[in-house]
């Protein structure tokens, strides 16, 4: 039995390795192809003409039933030079947002020489659903993490079911199924509604089991229903509010509720300068366990992330800060973790704090140099994870890697006393 399990596990690992190599090699070829095709699009001889009108499937953009943001972008093309790269981008966004199989732009002569008309031809999907991989990761210290989603759309309604096995983000490894419904237009383009369901099984490390003795009750399953409303209050700002109804089945067969109110404010902005391009991304999220909602836990959890990136020529630099605190009696999944694919890379999360902690501060500094289609990077991570009233030891790690959009390969070195064990990580995170 044990032999059979070991064989199955080794076959599973081999399968995942082959998949990772396939995904990485396919992506490299595809990125190279995209770059050439973009360069080709910039040479189009029709770029000297002025756009007279824009339509979609033969319907003038003013009369087309499309999201406001797309309509604005399409209307803004009128009177401008025919930038075919921009038309390609717009065709891609139309396809994505309206869930078409393909969208191609078609140019024709306008009412007078030098003017042209643009029509976006649309092809509807043969297959009604998409299969995607939002996260796929291998770490030589923490093993595999992966997510697969299957989704289908009916107008602005999106239904997704997924499978997940994640050993990267929480103190425990969790696996299970998820389902999501999202309406991207509730009365207005600015309002979105979503509801998520999760049914997850937890696996705890030996260190976590040892640490939990007498301190916390470990749970073996977790079920969650989380409705959320998101409003775009300004061009770069969205505000979300929702609830999370979570049930935990403990090892001793007790069931506890961890129901909470949730909220998030997100700001994202891109500043195009003469030679430099800057990006700012900030997020504040809060979760409050409320006994009035039937919760057995009473707590509040606050988390802030700030990211600043500047690019100039081939060089880029970024700084990312994470800070968080949890007050009261928070369930284990609300605790913070350091030592994964994005924080204190190279450290083992279970060795830092096997059950996580309720205070965190972390900063990551990255310098990158564009090489071909990707970017070679060096980074320095520093962070502290501690519990209220306890010391907050600062830990550091250094590393280098190569990134192509969401695909990355990293070798990270935790700075510790004594022997330094590098950790290799590769995968894709959207």
């Amino acid at each position: 039995m044990g032999m059979r399990r070991a064989k199955a596990a080794s076959m599973f690992s081999l399968g995942l390795s082959v998949s990772l190599v396939f995904l990485l090699s396919s992506s490299t070829l595809l990125f190279a192809g995209q770059s050439f095709l973009r360069a080709a699009a910039e040479t189009n001889v029709n770029q000297r003409y002025t756009i007279e009108s824009v339509s979609i499937a033969g319907v003038k953009v003013e009369n087309a039933k499309i999201p406001l943001s797309l309509r604005r972008r399409m209307t803004a093309l009128v009177g401008e030079r025919c930038d075919t790269t921009m038309l390609e981008d717009l065709a891609g966004d139309l396809r994505r947002q309206l869930h078409f199989q393909a969208v191609n732009h078609h140019l024709s002569k306008g009412s007078e020489p030098g003017r042209i008309r643009v029509n976006f031809d649309v092809i509807r999907k043969d297959v009604g659903f998409d299969l995607s991989v939002p996260k796929f990761l291998y770490s030589s210290s923490q093993g595999w993490t992966g997510e697969v989603d299957a989704s289908t759309h009916v107008r602005e309604h999106e239904f997704t079911v997924g499978a997940i096995n994640n050993g990267d983000t929480l103190p425990e490894r969790f696996s299970g199924v998820t389902a999501r419904y999202e309406d991207s237009r509730v009365g207005s383009d600015r309002v979105r509604f979503g509801i998520a369901f999760e049914n997850l099984h937890e696996q705890w490390s030996d260190q976590a089991r040892a640490a939990a003795t007498g301190e916390a009750e470990l749970y073996r399953t977790r079920r969650n229903i989380a409705p959320e409303l998101t409003v775009a209050v300004a061009k770069n700002v969205t505000v979300s509010a929702g609830m999370s109804f979570e049930q935990l089945d403990s090892q001793s067969a007790n069931t506890r509720s961890a129901n909470a109110l949730t909220g998030e404010i997100h700001y994202g902005s891109k500043i195009e300068g003469g030679t430099a391009q800057q990006m700012v991304d900030a997020k504040y999220s809060v979760r409050v366990g409320v006994p009035k909602l039937g919760s057995d836990y009473s707590y509040s959890r606050h988390m802030v992330t700030l990211r600043y990136e500047v690019k100039s020529g081939r060089q880029s630099a970024s700084d990312e800060f994470l800070g968080g605190m949890a007050e009261g009696d928070a369930p284990l999944f609300e605790r913070f973790v350091l030592g994964n694919s994005s924080t204190l890379r190279g450290w083992d999360a279970a060795a830092i704090a096997p059950l996580g902690a309720n205070r965190v501060a972390h900063n990551s500094l990255t310098w990158g140099y564009q090489m071909g289609e990707g970017t070679a990077e060096v980074f320095y991570d520093a962070g502290a994870l501690w519990r209220t009233g306890r010391p907050a030891p600062m830990r550091h790690s250094l590393g280098l890697g190569y990134r192509q959009k969401m695909f990355f390969m990293t070798m990270a070195f935790p700075i510790t006393e004594g022997r330094m064990s590098p950790v290799f990580m590769a995968g894709m995170i959207y």
Binding site: L37, T43, N46, L131
Partner: protein
């Protein structure tokens, strides 16, 4: 009976002759010709007509169509590994008002780009083939060699929407791309000729 047989034989002979002529014309039309021009080996393929079908439709829609061409030198025909090769990438577009073609050869660096415009379809095809050269110093001087042309159209829709979509890597589109018949999605022309000797090529076009 004998007259009817004679007529049948005549018809059969005529059909055979017509088929043979058509086949010969087709062979000549798609024959890869090579010649030496200074420091370069150049190629030509009379009436190749790669600006046709889907690529031509897309060009006339105002889109940019990209072609990638590769000339390879090998000791045996259809070799998997070439002794020498050169690759050139071309971006073609069609002027909606002037109804003429424009071609840009895209080099490794922006300054190595070359553009030519106001071309007919045939002139655009010829310009592409004329810019698919291989350095003379790469040709074997002591033995015969074969020349292969591999020309294919790059379809931008193949790569768009697979990576960077909301949701990460889109497996459905990746499967669609790999399962699509290559012939219909990416027009491709693969031509071979040889053996050639460098001494013979000094005398002019060879095919």
């Amino acid at each position: 009976m004998s007259g009817r047989l004679t007529n049948s034989v005549r018809v059969a002979c005529l059909a055979g002759l017509t088929a043979t002529c058509a086949f010969s014309v087709a062979l000549i039309a798609n024959q890869l010709l090579v010649h030496l021009d200074g420091d370069y080996l150049r190629i030509s393929v009379p009436h190749l007509n790669f600006l046709s079908g889907k690529p031509l439709e897309r060009l006339k829609d105002g889109a940019t169509v990209a072609f990638v061409g590769q000339v390879s030198i090998s000791q045996v025909p259809n070799a998997m590994v070439a002794d020498a090769h050169s690759v050139a990438r071309f971006a073609l577009s069609y002027d909606i008002w002037e109804q003429q073609f424009s071609v840009t050869k895209i080099g490794e660096r922006p300054e190595s780009r070359r553009t030519i415009s106001h071309l007919t379809a045939q002139a655009a095809e010829n310009w592409c083939l004329d810019n698919l050269t291989i350095d003379r110093s790469l040709l074997p001087t002591d033995r015969p060699f074969y020349v292969q042309l591999d020309l294919r159209s790059e379809d931008p829709r193949d790569t768009l929407g697979i990576i960077g979509e909301p949701g990460g890597l889109n497996i459905t589109r990746l499967i669609e791309m790999f399962s699509r018949p290559a012939r219909s999605a990416q027009p491709r022309w693969l031509l071979n000729n040889g053996p050639f000797r460098i001494a013979d090529l000094h005398k002019g076009l060879r095919g």
